[in-house]
Amino acid sequence: MLHQQKIFSPAAENIRVKVLSNRCIKPGHFRLAFRVPVSFPEAVPGQFVHIKVGEGPVPLLRRPFSISNYTPGKIQIIYAVVGQGTKILSHAKRGDYLDMLGPAGKGFCICEEAKTHLLIGGGMGAAPLVFLARKILKKVKKDSSISVFLGFKTKQEIILKEEFAKNSIIGLQIATEDGSFGYRGLVSELFEDYLKKISSTSKFSIYACGPLQMLKTVARLSFDYDIFSQVSMEEIICCGVGACRGCVIKGTAGYMRVCQEGPVFDAKKISWS
């Protein structure tokens, strides 16, 4: 198992940003890009932006979205319309301004010693993994490999397949619950099947983002196979700066703030029961 490294959290800003595009990538799913100052702190995969949607008091709070890509001067998020806030956001047009706070939280630490990077995403959990895969490709040595495992309910809900597929270094496997595409079953089952076939898991590193149940299984597998694993957790985010203590989850050593100590955590530090 590799050692956990210090997860990087640069300074954040609270600014008005200009929407560059907000495209529907498939029914109910959008990719939004906005401009940030070139001086903007470099974002790390797994970090999020906290966006005020709409003007009125409903919805009241900002909404958090993982950064799915960062290049100097530009940030991208990918989101699903699930409620009122994301619905309002989906109406944002090129040229509109959004109030954004970020980059917030702690992102994934890329294990430079690892040779095999395993990225597991469930549903919208695929969003930050695109950014992460890009970063891993840049940082790590040529002889290391990246395998991505994505899970969706059905074929219709698959997102970001092309983004991963276009890079031949990345091994991509997809599971659908109804078997309409790829592996039939949960992505965690697909992942377990994969691990079972592996003789040695030394210098492996796991990065996961998705529904709690999926993360739970992935964490258990990482313990069983003794692989260092990082998981991105969700809770309602309120202040996003660590002040309100509203976003806590249970850790082995007490409550931890998703917006501050997370959203990416060492799976070992989380109380999974």
């Binding site: 800003e13 609270n14 309120c238 700066v241 249970k250």
Partner: protein
Amino acid sequence: MDKFNVELAATIGRVKLKNPVLVAAGTFGYGEEYAKYVDLNKLGGLIAKTITLKPRKGNPPPRLTETPAGLLNSIGLENSGIDSFIEKNLPFLHNLKTALIVSIAGENEEDYLRLADRLGKEKCIHALEVNVSCPNVNSGSKMIGEEPELVFSLTRRLKEVSGLPFFIKLSAQIGRMVELSQAAREAGAEAVSLINSIPAMAIDVDKMCPKLGNVVGGLSGPAIRAIAVKIVWEVHSKVDIPIIGMGGIMSLEDALEFVLAGASAVAVGTANFIDPQVSLKIIDELEHYLYEKKIRSFSELVGKLKTGG
């Protein structure tokens, strides 16, 4: 019109503020969390998150849920206790050039007295806000903030242990705000802070379970503003004690409702989460407002509601 300087200063008993806009307890941490987003020195004052004698881990998650125009929270006074506060947070707060008010809570009178005693020795604290109305602590027994006699007794004894000004923080959960404020006044409190979040609850009908881990939480935000304004106005009309008004303030207009109703200062709570700079914007706009209305001093506005009769 002649150009003139607008006086923003506000007075809460012995406490002088450079302007009347504070940030509310529990919504601004210990200042440091927001330091990179806000010039803290421009605030009228900062009310630090409630601290207790011993560390408290707070309530089980989920601790937050949204309601229409409201926020329901059950943080449960998570904090690291007074020792940690003095050691880790106070040094930062010490350097601020604005009024520092520290919120305290205890399980019984003795707790409050010990907290006041310890904090009374710190030079940089301008006042203590005595939280006797947190809706998120189920001690089983009655809250001090529910009984005028308990409020009176606590305030009296606090004044014996420390010369600091005390603001007694009450909540709308009790229909006896006038009696309670009267008790605070008679016992010598400097002010009352009105209001804390209101006990409330939301249910996930799919899972048939409460949305909060603690079942019950406190409702804050614009949803409760009209209730809070009414309480401030009622207490101001009937009790001779300065009031720090709060509950759903999102803009200057909202803040002025409290001031006209009788608040000598206001505190911004939930709105900080949505816009960390909102308090500074309100202060700015207040200055413009006074200038345009040709009002020389903020204090002239306090309680200036015209009610006809």
